[in-house]
């Protein structure tokens, strides 16, 4: 595995590096596609900026509230640059809320925007999985297939690479030219369905996911739920065959 990328005296961690690169590609791709749809691409960058800022601040506040005794004894820790001192789940939720607030305030049609973001999201996820493979943080079940990789004492499925291949295929599918007049939000719904289905199927080859009672892989169950949510959205968007104009909708 290659958990670090050596550039002279610098040892850059591959996992965070691919995450940062993926996030940048997500924003750049989304901004460009949004402009093609007649939206202001700057809104993508601005929403991304506010999301990161809100996520970092909110994640730190929640972490401080959770471990108040430690922060009260050393208040300067509130300003620590240590990325481990963040409530990760809450940070992501706060970041998403901040982005939604910004977009709603500027009247950006979210369904059309999500369509613009969908291919870049799939590409960013592919990069994240590559980072997890390089760092060895994600790994597959033991196997004897010819393409198995040796890791942590066993020959294993290169499960992160399977997922990366699926996400690249999803990105290519979403990037294909489409006929005009498609319902706004359809590409995003496709992305959610395809990604969820890929996790439902491919996480069967992973050995590092959290388990539910009975040995059920939690991420496969989440994939099933995501797929059903996508199908519910598709049901709402499905019509009698007359596609609605891509007007977008505010959520």
């Amino acid at each position: 595995m290659y958990p670090t990328l050596q550039l002279g005296p610098l040892a850059l961690p591959t996992g965070p590096l691919t995450l940062i690169l993926g996030f940048w590609l997500f924003l750049a791709s989304g901004a460009r596609r949004a402009a093609h749809k007649g939206l202001d691409g700057d809104h993508v960058y601005n929403a991304g900026f506010y999301a990161v800022l809100a996520g970092l601040i909110g994640g730190r506040i929640v972490h401080a509230l959770r471990y108040w005794d430690a922060y009260a004894a050393q208040p300067m820790l509130l300003l620590s640059l240590n990325p481990g001192a963040l409530a990760a789940t809450e940070a992501i939720a706060i970041a998403a809320f901040a982005a939604w607030l910004y977009l709603r305030r500027h009247g950006v049609p979210l369904a059309s925007l999500f369509d613009a973001l969908a291919p870049g999201a799939a590409l960013a996820l592919a990069l994240a999985d590559l980072g997890q493979f390089l760092s060895g943080d994600a790994f597959g079940m033991p196997t004897s297939v010819p393409w198995a990789v040796t890791l942590w004492g066993a020959d294993r499925h290169p499960a992160p690479l399977y997922q990366m291949a699926a996400e690249l295929a999803i990105a290519a599918w979403l990037w294909r030219p489409r006929r005009p007049g498609r319902n706004a939000g359809w590409a995003a719904t496709e992305c959610l369905f395809l990604y969820s289905s890929s996790r439902l199927f491919l996480d069967a080859f992973r050995a590092d996911v959290f388990l539910l009672p009975g040995g059920l892989r939690g991420t496969q169950v989440l994939g099933l739920i995501g797929g059903l949510i996508a199908l519910a959205l598709a049901y709402l968007q499905a019509g009698t065959g007359d596609p609605a104009p891509e007007a977008g909708a505010n959520l």
Partner: protein, 178 residues
């Protein structure tokens, strides 16, 4: 092209049946979960090692089973390691009675240098000497400091690369002190 509602309902039924069946068919059997090989990864048994401490005592990680272990790889030349040591010392003092063992593994330095460092910072937990670098290689330590939080069953529950502050320590200690 957007599907008809009938098509969506059919696909939903297919996903529920096939997806649910696949999840059940590929669930992890108990022996597979129990038979994970030692690896420096969360949910894996911590790889064993035997080292000598600065006091000349032999320390074997597997003999600490039954205790919660904070395994910390560091070096005296590493400023972030120096920065986090007071927090580790505080955790040692606070939780030693509750069954926490701190094992700080110095990588490829001499006994005298490590002893002097410990005296300067008032460190009282075990300081092991990985003079050959074998232990740090086994644990795939790429940067200092790197910490592994090992529960009473010898399973790694959390890892952290970089200097830990007290809230970060507190959060990760909770995963092994239960």
């Amino acid at each position: 092209m957007p599907m008809s509602r009938r098509g969506v309902l059919l696909l939903t039924a297919l996903i529920l049946i096939a997806g649910g069946g696949w999840i059940a068919a590929t669930r992890v059997a108990e022996p597979a979960r129990a038979g994970l090989s030692p690896a420096p990864q969360v949910s894996h048994p911590a790889p064993d090692f035997t080292l000598t401490t600065v006091n000349g005592e032999t320390l074997t990680l597997s003999e600490l089973k039954g205790k919660s272990v904070l395994l910390n790889f560091w070096a005296t030349w590493c400023p972030p390691c120096r920065a986090e040591m007071p927090y580790i010392q505080a955790a040692h003092e606070a939780y030693e009675g509750a069954g926490l063992v701190v094992v700080a593994v110095d990588v490829q330095e001499g006994r005298e240098k490590v002893s002097q460092f410990a005296r300067e910072l008032g460190l009282t937990f075990p300081l092991a000497l990985d003079t050959t670098g074998q232990a740090s290689t086994t644990y795939q330590v790429r940067a200092f400091p790197t910490s592994f939080f090992i529960d009473r069953e010898g399973i790694i529950r959390s890892t952290f690369t970089g200097p830990m502050t007290s809230p970060v320590l507190e959060e990760r200690l909770r995963s092994i002190m239960q």
